[in-house]
């Protein structure tokens, strides 16, 4: 059996690089200032109320409606982390910023 | 790349003739599994396919072999497998898949003694009904059966032509004797025998329905990668290949599958008929058995017995109408088979009341020789 690849040493990002990355994110995402597009679009016809987006959203942006489908209750809290639309098994959620 | 043979006159084995016939027909993919008595076909393909730009693969079992040739055919490559009884049984589910998804492939079954492991190195013709009803559900089989090494070549080409013409799996039944014996054969020049290719679509992408119910009931077939991006599934499907539970669409699909073959069966029928016009007794046999039967008929004629021979080269669909006509003024028909009686049931179904049906069977692994058949003719006439 051929041997494994040599071990890659995980490279630590310097503080400056990290700063630049969050800076970059700020510029792209402008909803916090109240203008610009809402963070997310929900195509609720395809939603089966599986509750994954509601429970895994770190900022608790969603509230369940009567049937358990997500409502974007607190859009300003959305940080575009993509957890919701990456997990959604029915492609209900899309982001206006990613 | 063309498939070239050095000299036209060759002493060739039946199995080898299948290989050359397939290459002549444009087969460029073989997925198979070793099984006596068909392995020479796989070996021949392994040697010759790469030389003409084709691909050979020995799969892990016959189920995989059948799967691989369907996959290959979907890329527009004429593909084939060869096996014997046990492998043919394993292939049945995927043969059914090829049938409902209308994928042209050729399956050669070099029959041997059955059932089960049976008689691997001995002859039998006991898979005849399996070629027709082997897999589950309603379906129409096309099966050809050569009786000489030259016909092994020609009928393989025919099998591919029928598969491409009707977009369906076609089975060729040979047997251990025919597969292993050698005869002189003149290899046809390229172009001498007709080679049929599947009809390709020439409509824009949005107009294409992979299972379109056309007047001929055979839909043009695009290949994977041609830009049509169709869906293929073993579930009963609509004209776009998407699964359906709608009774009308189900019936439409099932009618299409049956009628595309039944309505055009005359294109497929191949009957070898000898001295039947004035015959009082006709011997009915296919494949290797028919060779001995012909000899027996000549022996009977020498004894001034008006005997004739009918040999179906295309066994399925069974030539009902032609046989009713041929047997109309015949007193006796003798069905000679190397099994415990299979095609005799078809003959009993088809033969007119005026024609008494008798049988001669042998299933001990040996061939029926002309004298045995001749004696039976004397008994039955």
């Amino acid at each position: 059996m051929p041997d494994e690849k040599p071990e890659e040493v995980p490279v630590k990002k310097t503080a400056a690089e990290k700063e630049a990355q969050t800076e970059d994110k700020k510029i792209k995402y402008s909803y916090q200032e109240g203008k610009g597009l809402p963070p997310l679009n929900l195509y609720l016809h395809w939603c089966k109320a599986c509750n994954i987006c509601i429970s895994f959203c770190p900022q608790k942006v969603f509230d369940p409606d009567r049937d358990g489908r997500p409502i974007v209750a607190r859009p300003e809290k959305c940080t575009q982390c993509a957890i919701c639309w990456l997990h959604c098994p029915d492609f209900v959620i899309t982001s206006n910023y990613k | 790349m063309p498939h070239r043979i050095t000299s036209a006159r060759k002493l060739m084995q039946g199995n080898e003739a299948c290989v050359h016939g397939a290459l002549y027909a444009g087969c460029r993919f073989f997925g198979g599994y070793p099984i006596t008595p068909s392995t020479e076909i796989a070996e021949g393909m392994a040697r010759l396919l790469p030389k003409c730009g084709g691909h050979f693969i020995q799969m892990e079992d016959e189920i995989a072999s059948m799967a691989s040739i369907i996959g290959a055919s979907l890329t527009g490559t004429k593909s084939m497998t060869a096996t014997s009884g046990p492998g043919f049984s394993l292939m049945q589910e995927n043969i059914g898949y090829a049938y409902i998804t209308e994928v042209p492939v050729v399956v050669v079954n070099v029959q041997r003694g059955g059932p089960s492991t049976g008689l691997p190195t001995k002859i039998a013709q006991a898979d005849t009904m399996q070629a027709r009803y082997g897999t589950h559900g309603d379906y129409q089989a096309i099966t050809v059966a050569p009786a000489s090494v030259r016909e092994c070549f020609e009928q393989t080409v025919k099998a591919f032509n029928f598969a491409e013409r009707f977009r369906t799996p076609v089975t060729m039944l040979t047997d251990e004797v025919l597969g292993h014996m050698r005869e002189m054969i003149t290899i046809p020049e390229s172009g001498e025998l007709e080679v049929v290719d599947r009809e390709k679509p020439d409509v824009p992408h949005e107009w294409y329905h992979h299972f379109e119910i056309t007047p001929t009931l055979v839909s043009p077939m695009a290949s994977m990668g041609d830009g049509y991006r169709y869906h293929v599934t073993g579930l009963v499907h609509d004209q776009d290949g998407f699964p359906t539970a709608n009774p009308n669409e189900i019936k439409a699909k099932m009618d299409k599958l049956r009628n595309k073959i039944v309505r055009f069966a005359d294109e497929v029928t191949q009957l070898d008929v000898e001295m039947v016009d004035d015959a009082g007794i006709v011997v009915f046999a296919y494949g290797t058995t028919a060779r001995a039967a012909r000899q027996a008929v000549h022996m009977a004629r020498e004894k001034r017995i008006r005997a004739g021979l009918i040999r179906p080269i295309t066994i399925w669909p069974f030539p009902d109408d032609q046989l009713r006509e041929l047997l109309a003024h015949v007193r006796r028909v003798l069905v000679v088979e190397l099994n415990q009686g299979q095609l005799i049931h078809e003959i009993e179904r088809v033969a007119p009341k005026t024609c008494k049906v008798a049988g001669l069977t042998r299933y001990d692994g040996e061939v029926l020789n002309p004298v045995e058949i001749f004696k039976r003719i004397l008994e039955v006439k």
């Binding site: 051929p2 089966k48 509750n51 993509a82 | 799967a67 369907i70 979907l74 869906h231």
Partner: protein
């Protein structure tokens, strides 16, 4: 080579089949839909044209995935997806062949084809969606159902021990083996991308939740609860190397578990064909 972060969120819509009825057929919260998104993003990231992708599947919940995707899709017989895909790939190596299979379809009835495709190292990427149960037929135990867990056909607890598909694939000769989960979707995107990028047989096991059967019969709760379980029990293979053994108790490894260079089957065959063509020229 790992993909850089996720592409845009609505990339998946470009690859869905408009003629197909949505929402998809899977239960609410089933991970297979998530895996489908992952596969589509990985394909998009690779820059494949839709015409050159062949998506092949067998029978089962996992195998209803291709019908929704706008590629050359093939929904074959139970367990035989990899055998069909081998025919497609070998006959037309220019096609990018991806197999979607499940733990039952790929390891039970399809186990023989699975290990032989690994052995051949043919350039096919197989995404094996492991929900540890037969979902389509109603919760029977599968080759990866854990020992002592319950299923419709293991009412008194599963007496058998489940396979680990990754060690099986590695032992059988696959050149790229990885495991992800439908919780760690960003990682799953990268792992599938890595598989597509690999010239050889790539197997990516996607751990998925079947709360309708496995979760219910084993009291593991709904989709959210099972996803949380995955989060707790997953252990990235890089972390596992540095952690003491007791930390790895009850965890399963995720990430790229095996990645070696080996000759690829179709290439070897093409060399053979080319060798004859050169001989013809002389």
């Amino acid at each position: 080579m790992m993909a850089d972060p996720i592409q845009s969120s609505n990339v998946t819509y470009d690859y869905l089949r408009v003629k197909k009825r949505f929402p998809n057929v899977w239960c609410a919260g089933c991970g297979i839909g998530t895996v489908m998104g992952s596969i589509i993003r990985a394909i998009d990231k690779m820059g494949y044209s839709k015409d050159e992708v062949a998506l092949v599947s067998g029978i089962g919940c996992s195998s209803r995935l291709p019908v929704y995707c706008d590629f050359n899709t093939l929904h074959t017989t139970h367990g035989r997806a990899i055998a069909f895909a081998t025919g497609v790939k070998l006959a037309k190596p220019s096609l990018k062949v991806i197999v979607v299979t499940g733990d039952g379809d790929g390891l039970a009835i399809g186990g023989n084809h699975f290990i032989h495709a690994c052995r051949r190292n043919i350039d096919i990427t197989t995404v094996l969606i492991n929900n540890q149960i037969y979902g389509m037929t109603g919760g029977q135990c599968s080759p990866t159902t854990p020992h002592d867990s319950f299923a419709a056909t293991a009412p008194y607890g599963n007496m058998e021990k489940g396979f680990d598909p990754t060690t099986l694939a590695k032992a059988a000769g696959a050149s790229y083996v990885a495991r992800g989960t439908v919780y760690h979707v960003q990682q799953l995107d990268k792992l599938i991308y890595g598989g597509l990028n690999k010239k050889g047989f790539a197997m990516v096991e996607a751990f998925s939740n079947c709360h309708t059967y496995y979760g219910r019969l084993n009291k593991e709760g709904d989709a959210v609860a099972m996803l949380k379980l995955m989060k707790e029990h997953a252990m990235p293979v890089k972390a596992a190397k540095v952690l003491p053994p007791e930390k790895l108790e009850g965890k399963f490894l995720t990430g790229v578990l095996w990645d070696v260079e080996m000759p690829e089957y179709c290439e070897l065959y093409q060399n053979l064909i080319d060798s004859f063509q050169e001989k013809d020229k002389e």
